[in-house]
């Protein structure tokens, strides 16, 4: 074939790919192409979220993108030798390379998802506004600019969208409160994006920020129009440097093209957006602690009421939403509330980007409508553990989520169904452990984590967590075990009902679920495998 058609190569710029050497691989491919006289163009796309295949290299072909992964820097030579960068027009594409996975979008892991919020992720160049616009980007904002503020709020309410950070509060109701509250002293209202994604096992916020930043910016801009806010902040974890860099870059681009600033799309509406870097305090993922931190103070939880919607950032009416919540908004406006509402079941409407993590063979991001079972997620998508041992426990919803045994894997992933078994979906993180896990150790870790990360404002969380670690130590060492188990349960009860925020009130979830479902691990007899 002629070399006149340059080969288009995709290699992700997501943190996962970078952590697995994607930058070096890209450099090597460029060098090899040059020395072999091959014309190719590398696009640093987002990640498809199939983490076990990362770094996933894709080649554009007339049939669709063909994938190769996981690619190591030492595989580059053989990929060139196999002709994958030169045989584009050929009907027998070199899919016989050992790393070939064939047509990427035909893989069951992707094909069986309902990619609604993540529809562009992995396909586009995250920082290409043209790419974004070519894939329905800013269609939601265009629609919102034609609507009254109250109609935007009504659309979000009708979609059934609930807060994706974990609390699952109806987004439309929160927005309505902010819309109808007058700011003090004629100051502005605020939109705050909670991107302090501290839960282990969760990375969907990071993926949005790194792989489709304009979607978050658009969602926040629509929120601003809906409630009459003019200033927004994205509070991002310091552990996410690439997300911060990508967002800053995207905000600059959006500003240059009139999508942010003092006159958005010549509408007369202003919205100024800024990224703020957090500083490693887990509790700042709690909304009022986050606001304290944004105001320049220690991230100490505020008592509620007053609600942030009425008395939020700098005392002004404030929308504070998670990244995924805000990222769902552009599509709701572009396609209508009914489109989003048609996904899901019961009171859990729409989709959730689940994150399969820990000891899982096919880990990554799975966006599905609410209602599939945990088992479908773990087996059909995840393909079981990476260690090929049986799954023993699964923690759903981050460090404050319950540990579930195999007998509960048929629970549908739905906010109410999970609440009914004393668990929480939280932010959709699913961490898998095989049979080598020591559940007493995990319970102790949950209490210890709470002791370290507690903001210290309320006693049940601050002191309860430390006493909890001691009680678990005594249980494991068989010092007055029955009494100490009673004490631990009592302590968990106080923490659950007496703490100011989820940090203290939800730490009992992992602790008690470990104790209830895996009591054999609390006898001090657990063998280390």
């Amino acid at each position: 074939m002629s070399t006149s058609t340059p080969c288009t190569v995709y290699l992700p710029c997501d943190s996962v790919a970078l952590a697995l050497g994607a930058d070096d691989i890209a450099t090597t491919i460029q060098q090899q192409a040059q020395s072999r006289g091959i014309d190719l163009r590398i696009i640093r796309n987002g990640s498809r979220g199939m983490v076990w295949l990362e770094p996933l290299l894709e080649i554009a072909t007339p049939q669709g993108r063909i994938g190769f992964g996981p690619v190591d820097i030492h595989d580059v030579n053989s990929l060139f030798d196999a002709g994958i960068f030169t045989n584009l027009a050929s009907t027998d594409l070199p899919t016989n390379h050992p790393l070939s996975i064939g047509l990427v979008e035909q893989l069951p892991f992707l094909k069986n998802q309902e990619r609604v919020t993540f529809s562009r992720v992995g396909i586009t160049d995250p920082l290409s506004l043209d790419d974004y616009l070519a894939h329905q980007g800013y269609a939601g904002l265009d629609q919102a600019l034609l609507m009254q503020a109250s109609a935007i709020v009504q659309e979000v309410t009708a979609s059934g969208l609930r807060g994706r950070g974990g609390a699952a509060f109806p987004t439309g109701i929160k927005w309505k409160t902010v819309l109808t509250t007058t700011p003090k002293d004629n100051q502005q209202k605020y939109i705050v994006c909670n991107a302090d994604e501290g839960d282990s096992g969760t990375f969907s916020d990071r993926m949005v920020m790194e792989n489709d930043p304009f979607m978050l910016i658009e969602g926040m801009t629509i929120a601003a129009l809906a409630v009459g806010a003019t200033v927004g902040y994205i509070y991002v974890r310091s552990e996410y440097p690439h997300a911060i860099a990508t967002l800053n870059h995207a905000i600059t681009i959006a500003g240059q093209h009139g999508y942010l600033g003092s006159d958005i799309r010549h509408s007369g509406h202003a919205f100024h957006l800024e990224v703020r870097k957090a500083a490693g305090a887990y509790v700042c993922g709690e909304e009022t602690a986050l606001l304290e931190s944004l105001e320049g103070r220690r991230g100490i939880v505020r008592a509620k009421p007053p609600l942030p919607a009425i008395n939020g950032l700098f005392g002004q009416p404030t929308v504070i939403n998670n990244v995924i919540t805000l990222a769902a908004v552009p599509l709701i406006l572009a396609r209508g509330a009914a489109f989003y509402h048609d996904f899901g079941q019961g009171r859990s409407r729409g989709t959730l980007p689940f994150q399969l993590a820990g000891n899982i063979q096919h880990g990554g991001l799975v966006e599905k409508a609410f209602g599939l079972t945990l088992r479908e997620l773990l087996i059909d998508f995840g393909a079981g553990t990476a260690s090929a041992r049986p799954i023993r426990a699964v923690q759903v919803g981050g460090p404050l989520g319950a540990y579930l045994p195999e007998s509960q894997f048929d629970t549908p992933l739905d906010y109410e169904a999970f609440a009914a078994i004393g668990a929480a979906i939280g932010h959709g993180g699913v961490v898998v452990f095989d049979d080598s896990v020591d559940m007493a150790k995990q319970a102790r870790y949950a209490m210890e984590f709470c002791a370290v990360e507690s903001c210290g404002k309320c006693t049940p969380c601050r002191i309860g967590s430390t006493r909890g670690v001691e009680a678990i130590d005594h249980i494991i060492a068989d010092q007055n075990r029955p009494q100490k188990i009673h004490l631990l349960r009592d302590l968990c009860d106080v923490m659950k009902h007496g703490s100011l925020c989820a940090m203290g009130s939800m730490t009992p979830f992992p602790v008690l679920s470990a104790l209830n479902h895996f009591p054999e691990d609390f006898t001090g007899q657990k063998e280390t495998v």
Partner: protein, 180 residues
């Protein structure tokens, strides 16, 4: 609310951190002129304290004690308030870090992939405990609770560079490859 006011992106931060961490131990890089300039550049922001502290740490590698009264003065806060914020957040350091800062993720998803074993291995290899710096100033070892690489653990950072699927053997290789 202009772009100049935004917290610096990582590319700036990484470069300046590399620069200062190689010199941070040997010379007092943190003269008050530099500090004052950094504070002046960010103190006009609303809720400026965290951006100011980040600017200092990104450029100098830590928050020197002499910065506290300067910040307090610029932001009209008490020194206690500034000190309280610095010590509240895990991210901020009050002493210069070693030339290579290694963070090991110790959260649940990485635990499920052998992070505890890796953490022990790293401690032994470096001869350094967590939250400590080796006597020769080569390494600072820190825990981190989640880098968002939860489906390809264990994960670590080495001078802000991310690494995933880090076995003890891979860690040794990274140490060998690094300029350490």
């Amino acid at each position: 609310m202009t772009t100049q006011n935004q917290a610096p992106g990582i590319s700036d931060a990484t470069q300046s951190c590399d620069h200062s961490s190689s010199e941070g131990c040997s010379s007092d890089h943190s003269n008050s002129d530099q500090l004052s300039a950094l504070i002046a550049r960010h103190c006009g922001m609303s809720g400026a304290l965290l951006p100011v502290l980040h600017a200092i740490q990104d450029n100098i590698g830590f928050i020197p004690e002499m910065a506290v009264p300067l910040i307090a003065d610029a932001l009209n806060l008490s020194r206690a308030e500034v000190h309280g914020v610095i010590t509240y957040y895990h991210h901020f350091r009050q002493t210069p870090p070693g030339r290579t800062v290694i963070q090991v993720c110790r959260a649940e998803a990485c635990q499920a992939r052998g992070a505890d074993k890796l953490a022990q291995h790293v401690q032994t290899q470096l001869g350094c405990d967590f939250h400590a710096t080796t006597a020769d100033g080569s390494f600072t070892l820190e825990s981190v609770y989640c880098l968002g690489l939860c489906a390809c653990g264990p994960a670590i950072t080495m001078n802000d560079q991310l690494y995933a699927r880090v076995s003890p053997e891979k860690f040794n290789q990274l140490l060998k490859q690094g300029n350490v």
